[in-house]
Point group: C2
Chain length 491, copies 2
């Protein structure tokens, strides 16, 4: 069989830019996995891993122009956004260098012997070790931050796990450039380049998840794609953890008092958030609970105006554009749904693939499930008008797991604490008075939630993202001189 | 369809003692889950959970005579062992009460805002919340410590998760008595009794794993049974974490120098460990690497003598007895396998179901996989004679994941550190100079390992067992007065 070419396409025009390589067949995937896996012993050196992550930060910064130019052509996300995203990636590499160096993530616990315990307790020393070689599936919508040089890669390398990345077909050239930067950084600090290897192709992803030397998977993408790979991981002779971020509606609840007190500002913030990056964020607010009545009406009017004025732009690829336009049309056609702004193709000379944002409205009473409770990737959100808090509860009760949930309320509202707690029941991050887009790289971040937000309720962003790539090991009555210094002389 | 009766049987005689109840049909499982799930809000009170665990410890101690009598009849494990196991359970409840009270497991992290970060960082407060209602599958071999009042139950309640236990058919009366003790303890501290509910029956277990209100599963049992339930958990519309402990060979490596220096003592320790509780421990050493040559021969001779002298006893049930005797015969018949002591039925007037321990020997060169590398539940182990460390490595390379691996070496042997590190590659606990049976309840314990030791490499014993029943939630720019005190005023 002829190998399939890997093509780089211009997201604004849909045209082919260049052939980047060929898709990996089973032998090529096997070679990529074996090469990465052979670097496990070298990566066991924790200070050197920290050095690798710092060198990777420097390497992506040094190659920023080429990386951003390729990513802008391949994704149409624009130079300002991509410049910020690359800075975030460099920050993230240094952040995980600090975590690797600090070593608190190792979770070292030393129990002295206790003959009085039941049963008697021998001396125990526990820490966490790298789980093994990790497969990372890059996302379409973040060519840097959730792709080759993204959080999964940075946290896995910090943990001591070699990484095999399955590139996203939307940005193969960007992926190759980023992989080269990290591989060169490895060599620079005296590690093998193969601490990170890269494969292209849909079947290559399947082969990767099934490969016996792969010990865990990180994935960011759609529910159907992620669930198919999750199922493969679970069906292996030896199942492996699959950390997939699949989809999220990111509901927002605006109370009557906030609609009255700061309706215009809230409407403007909402539209800015759901149209940011053409609505192609996993944290895009996709369902907004707005009160009925005058204050809510005014908020909706302001949002409608702002949405109609939003600048059109291209989506990441032609398939997403089709899905978005079809998804909008299907939702708009549902009984009881009112189109406030119609999403549509909005081609210009420079950007023939551009679309403009849409805005929908529906009454809480008529929202009885179905498509309106599913994520629609792209610049659209659904305003759900509620009569009272029982109406809100009826909607919330129908939601699955979410990455985020947002409350716009006044801090002195009697029910504010109760609603915060209610939103935490189905979301991994609860935001008060802000917007879910923008996920800080920070020790306390959670980017994950009950299914389908993520397949396992952990986080793929922030300090504890490293926990996914570790497993605990306890040493019982092992003479300290036979152990690593972290265990023999814990601080 | 007639409901199936749940029968308590005498393990020593195989006779029916009493009917305990009926197997739960789908409606009964649903009722048990809903009743437990309805206690989530009540269990959110952390100090009260600690009180519940302390009251549960007291309750099982107060009812020790009845619990031990039922368990002894149902399992034949003997009053001394069961007395120790019950003490362990009480210790474990108090241990988790302390963990719940302390709150360090909540993993509270508070990030102050940082406008200079990329992207800018808002104030974030993260902790862990209970994952939801948990299903616990009791094990045959620990009617207390890995059953209704065991580590899964204690850690899940400590986390704030209601528990629905699927009783093991080997000890239904013990299960009912233990459940009543915990339910009464709940009422005593002002919690609903339904923080723990109990169901019997194989199909009930299937229905439990599939129930939409079940958020995670703890399981201890066989590879086929555990894998089938793991597959069900993964195939749910919303998959849930399945923490299963399935099987382990628990290899032991004895070096030439140790065989020479302390062969007799090591042989005695080995036989005591693998025949303890009639070899019905998940940590039973099932494969022992012994050097060829005179020191190894002497060690084998001593072990053979001790094994032949081991006191016969009944296994947990008739099915296990058959599996054990058939499993021993199948292994003994393999080419190159030498029978040192033949396992066999050894009926007495009091214990018609008794068996005696077996001991097998094989050369490392002829050990090419198959049944000898699979766990054989019951009092048997396989001595594998090796010529050199390359022969040892060839055996280790064929092993799957294990709960434990043990090294008997002299601390000053040049390769000791390397072998410790090698054993840690496939095991969750590495023991030096001791034996794997006996799993201390301690902060630093790991009882879990790569598949098939456990389905997910976590621990089901020790302080961090609580982590399985939690998920992280981050609060972003939420006014502290709207949050729980742990987050608003972290210590």
């Amino acid at each position: 069989m002829e190998p399939e070419p890997v093509l780089s396409r211009d997201a604004r025009t849909g045209e082919t830019r260049a052939q980047i390589g060929i898709e990996a067949d089973a032998a090529a995937v096997d070679a990529a996995v074996r090469a990465a896996d052979a670097t496990r012993d070298a990566l066991a050196d924790r200070p050197r891993r920290a050095a690798l992550l710092r060198a990777a930060a420097q390497a992506v910064e040094a190659r920023a122009d080429a990386l951003i130019a390729a990513a802008d052509a391949e994704t149409a996300l624009g130079v300002p956004r991509l410049t910020g995203e690359l800075a975030r990636v460099a920050y993230q590499f240094r952040f995980f260098a600090g975590i690797a160096e600090d070593g608190a993530y190792l979770g070292v616990v030393v129990d002295p012997p206790d003959p009085a315990a039941v049963p008697p307790r021998p001396e125990l020393r526990r820490w966490k070790v790298p789980i093994g070689t990790v497969a990372v599936f890059a996302a379409s919508n973040f060519p840097f931050a959730f792709s080759v040089p993204g959080g999964d890669t940075a946290s896995a390398l910090a943990a001591g796990c070699p990484v095999v990345v399955k590139a996203h077909p939307d940005h193969p050239e960007t992926s190759e450039l980023a992989a080269a930067a990290i591989r060169d950084a490895a060599v620079e600090v005296g590690l093998p380049a193969d601490v990170l290897t890269l494969v292209h192709g849909r079947q290559a992803g399947v082969d990767l998840v099934r490969h016996p030397l792969i010990s865990a998977v990180g994935f960011t993408g759609s529910i159907p794609g992620g669930r198919a790979l999750f199922d493969l991981a679970a069906a292996r002779p030896s199942p492996i953890p699959f950390y997939g971020e699949l989809g999220s509606l990111n509901p927002v609840l605006i109370t009557e008092r906030t609609a009255a007190a700061r309706g215009a500002e809230t409407a403007a913030g909402l539209v800015a958030s759901y149209t940011l990056g053409q609505g192609q964020f996993c944290t895009k607010p996709g369902l907004v609970l707005v009160p009925e009545g005058q204050a809510g009406d005014q908020l909706v009017a302001t949002a409608t105006e702002a949405a109609a004025a939003a600048v059109p732009g291209a989506l990441l690829d032609a398939r997403m554009r089709e899905h978005f336009l079809a998804g909008f049309a299907a939702r708009a056609a549902l009984p009881g749904v009112r189109t406030l702004v119609e999403a549509a193709a909005a081609p210009t000379g420079d950007v023939p693939q551009a679309v403009r944002a849409g805005l929908l409205e529906v009454d809480a009473d008529t929202l009885d499930g179905g498509e309106l409770l599913e994520e629609c990737f792209g610049p659209v959100t659904v305003l759900v008008r509620y009569r009272d808090m029982a109406g809100v509860e009826a909607v919330l009760a129908r939601l699955g797991g979410n990455l985020t949930a947002t409350l716009h309320a006044e801090p002195d509202e009697p029910d504010a604490a109760r609603w915060i707690s209610r939103l935490a029941r189905f979301a991994g991050r609860v935001i008060f008075g802000g917007w879910p887009t923008g996920v800080a790289v920070a020790p306390a971040m959670t980017h994950g939630g009950p299914y389908p937000a993520t397949t396992t309720p952990t986080t793929s962003v922030g300090g504890t993202a490293i926990d996914r790539w570790l497993r605990p090991v306890t040493f019982q009555t092992v003479p300290p001189e036979l152990l690593q210094p972290e265990l023999s002389h814990p601080s």
